[in-house]
């Protein structure tokens, strides 16, 4: 497998009819859902390649004398205005100047009927002369789905800041700060690293925000700044392994998270090609695996279990045998249906809920 083949982002468009993916080689591949066919009932819902193109090429940054990777960091679909579909894709070159000292944010404006896209990245690729100055970086950001003046950004210190652009065009001051007080009993060398937020997503309703940090996913109510309304453990068994995860750099992995169409289920990735889902109402959760072996087309996924300690049942996998090179960082959920797209290194898996498909 080549590095350039690693999938680096997955995104459905607003109808779910199209799915765009980007990879470290700067390629964008777009899939289109096949229309339902009466003759082949199995064929409905499949996504086939619609178009592929080279979105970014490696570039050279004169100011920094640096090569800029062609890796696609993010894809955003623009709302469809006419028969044409359009999307924005970015790599690291956006905003090529380097700044440190304070939080930086970078913005992409899509000049498309007041639609704006916010894009940010942390600046670990540029080392400030004085590393002490670098205290906090922006890790993710998103606009509110209904109020175009609001956006949120997350930081490496685990906090979320909501900004209102009606207050000021330059958003160096936030309107609301969402932060959970640290539990002193859980404090360790790794506290700050694992509390860094790797992704933030508004719910479709606009009332909640979903954040992912290294070990948990959290749901925040926009109306409550003091603590998240829900916290789910993604792989708490790794808490005792943080040392070795630091050694192999895994602790810096940036897992993304996603809402389902009705905001009742959330999904995020883990190691060993596992991904997790949490039902917010019933508090049930499930671990599934995206693997070559278990997933011939139409194969049904069996829930997987990781066992800690002594009692190990058949089919359980022990923490020590987890493969940390197989990680699911990027996932996407169809905007209305139970269809999910999972990027597992150089494989893209698209799964469908059985019930969902039966109801068609």
């Amino acid at each position: 497998m080549r590095i350039s083949d690693i999938i680096s982002t997955v995104e459905f468009n607003h109808t779910g009819e199209l799915l765009a993916t980007g990879d470290k080689g700067g390629r964008v591949v777009i899939f289109q859902r096949e229309p339902e066919s009466k003759n082949e009932p199995y064929n409905q819902g499949e996504y086939n390649v619609y178009s592929t193109f080279q979105s970014h090429e490696p570039e050279f940054d004169y100011l920094k004398s640096l090569e800029i990777e062609e890796k696609i960091n993010k894809i955003k679909w623009l709302p469809q205005q006419n028969a044409a579909h359009s999307l924005l894709s970015t790599n690291d070159a956006f905003g090529p100047r380097c700044f440190f000292h304070t939080l930086r944010m970078k913005q992409i404006m899509g000049y498309n009927k007041s639609q704006m896209w916010l894009y940010s990245r942390d600046i670990v690729d540029i080392k400030p002369a004085n590393m002490e100055d670098l205290t906090e970086v922006i890790t993710a950001s998103e606009f509110h789905p209904h109020h175009c003046n609001l956006f949120v950004y997350s930081s490496s210190k685990g906090s979320l800041r909501l900004c209102d652009m009606r207050a000021s065009a330059l958003c160096d001051k936030h309107s609301k700060l969402y932060e959970e007080p640290e539990d002193p009993s859980n404090r360790s060398f790794f506290s700050e690293i694992i509390s860094s937020v790797s992704d933030v997503k508004f719910s479709h309703s606009g009332r909640y925000m979903l954040t992912r940090d290294y070990l948990t996913v959290k749901v925040w109510d926009l109306n409550m700044e003091t603590k998240p309304v829900e916290t789910y453990q993604v792989h708490d068994y790794l808490r005792s392994k943080l040392c070795s995860l630091y050694e192999n750099d895994c602790i810096f992995d940036k897992f993304e998270c996603a809402w389902n169409g009705s905001d009742s289920v959330i999904m995020t990735g883990a190691y060993n090609n596992f991904f997790r889902m949490f039902d917010r109402n019933t508090k049930r959760d499930v671990t599934l695996e995206a693997s070559r072996e278990s997933s011939k087309p139409r194969a049904i996924l069996k829930p997987r279990r990781v066992c800690v300690g002594g009692k190990r049942r058949k089919d359980d996998i022990s923490v020590d045998s987890l493969d940390f090179t197989k990680k699911i960082l990027h996932t996407a959920w169809h905007p209305t249906e139970n269809i999910i797209a999972i990027a597992a290194t150089n494989n893209l898996y698209i799964f469908q809920d059985k019930v969902n498909s039966e109801m068609h």
């Binding site: 004169y62 100047r97 959760d285 499930v286 893209l348 898996y349």
Partner: protein, 712 residues
């Protein structure tokens, strides 16, 4: 550099990505990835000796690097200043000064911004700054490119703010006085105006009188209208800097003069400055000088000079309140009428008497009228203060109504935004707003259709107000009033609005707040004599149910189920019954939120007891369902709604086991999300909806995907 192009184009319709075997038959051509875009020679030329320090590299690049490298050094100046101010000042800055003489526009602009950043970051003392940077700024101020000189002017204005007054006087003011003559270019006279505005608050009265004001005066009387306009706009800052005494004797006469200027932009600037300075004038001046000026200005605006209507409407709120107290009752009324006229400007009623005029209204004119109405909406809170809140209903309600129903979205939007302030201004009259909200429907029988959105908006605002009101007493009062006057109101219309209000409450408040205050009052409406109310209640029930948490709210859940049963048994109205049945199905499909923490607590409390509460509840319901014979079939549906309670119980066991150390390892043998388990309910439909068995529909191996010839 193009990626290689592939020959086969028809893959979008083949099942190419379904099966690996198919994929392997294809010829895959790899895309050669070129790692670098520069030839070795180019890189060689851009390469700098690694041994050089930051300072040395900066000096080297400025003296012999390419333009783009020089610009990057200039952009990096604030960082160098932070790291090593002494060496940067000694070695880098003189180089920059040299290079700027011949620099292109881009480097000039970059430098102006960098200089400003250095100032803002305070990496050197202001004394050092004025010593080293100020001269460079002043030197480049006269740059022939207007963009560049403007950028330097911006930097200079920010610098003036920070400089000690002696430096400003010697380095900036004196040279300016010496050269701000007509012989200077227009560009530099305009710059002088802005600098004057900035320096005016720096000095003692006698210096201003002797050195600043003569120059200000001469700029006010400049031959170019652009200069007069610019200076006129700066007069506000000048006036604030020199105090009321000098304003009265020097600035006001100038303003009066400018207000009669031949150029309309000058007159407009004078008008706006007068309005902004109202608080600086004494009562005499206001009534003797300003009021007549403003009056004639307003009168002319309609007759001759429509172009100023936009600005006039924008400043009207400030104007009316600034002149409050010196108006005669007649003038007061006239300005209010003027405001009302502007508020409906361009609307059909306004031009109804003249159809031709309506058709002649150009697009541009229409846009202008919309801005005028938008400004009126913006000024609405100020006008409430102007008429006194207690006269609101009498004087302004009709305009309030018009603006809220303006055909233009932006006007209504502005109105909605200012709702907060409206409420603020009327806060002493809270009961009246409530009254207005609750009575609106009855008073305006014929306008019912139009009142609804306003009432809804008012209800929403009240909810927002409630949310940010921290005074417990007032909070309770509002809640109480909402329940008594709306929820238990005599008119069905009010009770319907109560349900609207509850929707807003759910949207804005926490689940527990809603449950605490509004859950039961909402359920009360099950007995409502009016079918429309019951119908609306049914539609709201799924939302209401979603606020419940088990086990905390189990008694509320019981109440809810009781209500549904009553509706099913007693509902006579055919239409309502249809909705009830549909709602029951929907409620049944819903899962109730589980409060894991609370469950854990209760479990510990109940440790040792053989049955837990939820199971009891379930048992009880089953008995209920058996004893009840009316509408047995539908009842069954409503009972199956309780299965969610049961499954919650089930997951409770699972979850609490997970909580005790390893959430990811449920001890129950049951597969999470996969309720193939049938022990608690036999309803196939309710089972399958909870199932989430995932299967793969597609797997694409990335290294098999080809880059095609599509160009975007």
């Amino acid at each position: 550099m193009r990626p290689e192009i592939f020959s086969k184009m028809d893959f979008s319709h083949s099942s190419l990505f379904g099966y690996i075997e198919d994929l392997q038959e294809l010829t895959i051509i790899e895309r050669p990835v070129r790692r670098s875009l520069k030839t070795p020679e180019e890189i060689e030329r851009l390469t700098v000796d690694e041994e050089l320090s930051d300072i040395e590299r900066a000096v080297y690049l400025l003296s012999s690097g390419q333009d783009i490298q020089g610009t990057s050094v200039v952009a990096n100046l604030p960082v160098l200043m932070r790291q090593n101010p002494a060496e940067t000042l000694r070695r880098v800055l003189p180089k920059i000064r040299e290079v700027l003489h011949v620099a292109g526009v881009e480097m000039q602009l970059t430098a102006a911004v960098s200089f400003l950043t250095v100032l803002q970051e305070e990496s050197v003392s202001i004394h050092t700054y004025s010593h080293s940077f100020l001269h460079i700024i002043l030197q480049n101020l006269e740059h022939r490119d207007a963009g560049v000189s403007n950028a330097w002017l911006e930097t200079l204005l920010a610098v003036i703010e920070a400089l000690p007054k002696e430096t400003v006087r010697h380095e900036i003011l004196n040279p300016l006085v010496a050269k701000a003559q007509l012989s200077q270019t227009l560009q530099s006279r305009l710059a002088s105006c802005k600098i004057m505005g900035k320096v005016a608050n720096k000095f003692e009265a006698h210096i201003i009188k002797r050195e600043v004001l003569p120059l200000v005066k001469s700029l006010c009387q400049d031959v170019e209208y652009e200069v007069r306009t610019c200076m006129c706009r700066q007069l506000e800052h000048v006036a604030r800097g020199i105090g009321t005494e000098l304003t009265k004797t020097v600035v006001l006469p100038e303003l009066v003069e400018l207000a009669r200027d031949e150029g309309s932009s000058v007159r407009l600037a004078a008008f706006e400055t007068l309005v902004n300075l109202l608080d600086m004038f004494d009562t005499d001046d206001r009534s003797q000088t300003v009021l007549p000026l403003v009056k004639s200005f307003c009168e002319k605006s309609f007759k001759a000079d429509e172009s100023i209507l936009v600005s006039l409407s924008f400043h009207l709120g400030k104007l009316c309140n600034g002149l409050y107290g010196i108006f005669t009752p007649e003038q007061h009324l006239r300005f209010l009428e003027f405001y009302k006229k502007l508020s409906t400007l361009g609307l059909q009623q306004e031009n109804g008497h003249n159809d031709n005029q309506l058709h002649l209204q150009t697009l541009e004119q229409e846009k202008k009228y919309i801005s005028v109405r938008k400004n009126c909406a913006y000024n609405f809170p100020a006008m409430i203060v102007f008429v006194d809140p207690k006269n609101f209903h009498l004087e302004l309600y009709s305009i309030f109504f018009c603006l809220c129903h303006d055909p233009e979205v932006s006007v209504r939007y502005t109105m909605a935004i200012s709702f907060f302030e409206v409420l603020d201004a009327l806060v002493g009259h809270l009961p009246e707003i409530l009254e207005l909200m609750t009575n609106g429907g009855e008073n305006n029988g014929s306008e019912n259709k139009n009142v609804l959105p306003v009432q809804k908006a008012a209800a929403r605002t009240l909810c927002v107000y409630l949310r940010y009101n921290r005074k417990q007493e007032q909070r309770h009062e509002v809640i109480q009033k909402l329940i008594e006057q709306l929820g238990q109101g005599k008119s069905y219309w009010n009770r319907l609005r109560f349900l609207d209000t509850c929707e807003f409450i759910m949207e804005l408040f926490s689940k527990s707040f809603f449950c605490k205050y509004f859950f039961l009052p909402v359920l009360e409406l099950t007995h409502d004599p009016v079918a429309n109310v019951r119908m609306k209640l049914c539609c709201l029930l799924p939302k209401v149910k979603s606020t419940l948490k088990i086990p905390t709210d189990k008694h509320l859940l019981q109440q809810l189920e009781l209500c549904i049963r009553k509706l099913l048994c007693q509902e006579k109205d055919k239409d309502v019954l249809t909705i009830v049945k549909r709602t029951v199905l929907e409620l049944d499909r819903m899962e109730i939120s589980v409060d894991a923490e609370q469950l854990e607590k209760e479990k510990q409390k109940n440790e040792g007891r053989s049955t837990n509460i939820n199971e009891k509840m379930f048992e009880k319901k089953r008995r209920d369902s058996k004893t009840s014979s009316v509408l047995a079939k539908s009842l069954n549906l409503s009972i199956s709604g309780s299965s969610s309670g049961t499954s919650a119980d089930d997951s409770f066991r699972t979850h609490s086991a997970g909580n005790s150390g390893n959430a990811a390892v449920p001890s129950s043998s049951r597969n999470l999300f996969n309720s193939a388990d049938q022990k608690n309910n036999g309803n196939k439909e309710s089972q399958s909806r909870k199932m989430s068995i995932w299967y793969i529909i597609e797997r694409v191996e990335w290294d098999k995907v080809k880059v095609s010839a599509f160009d975007m």
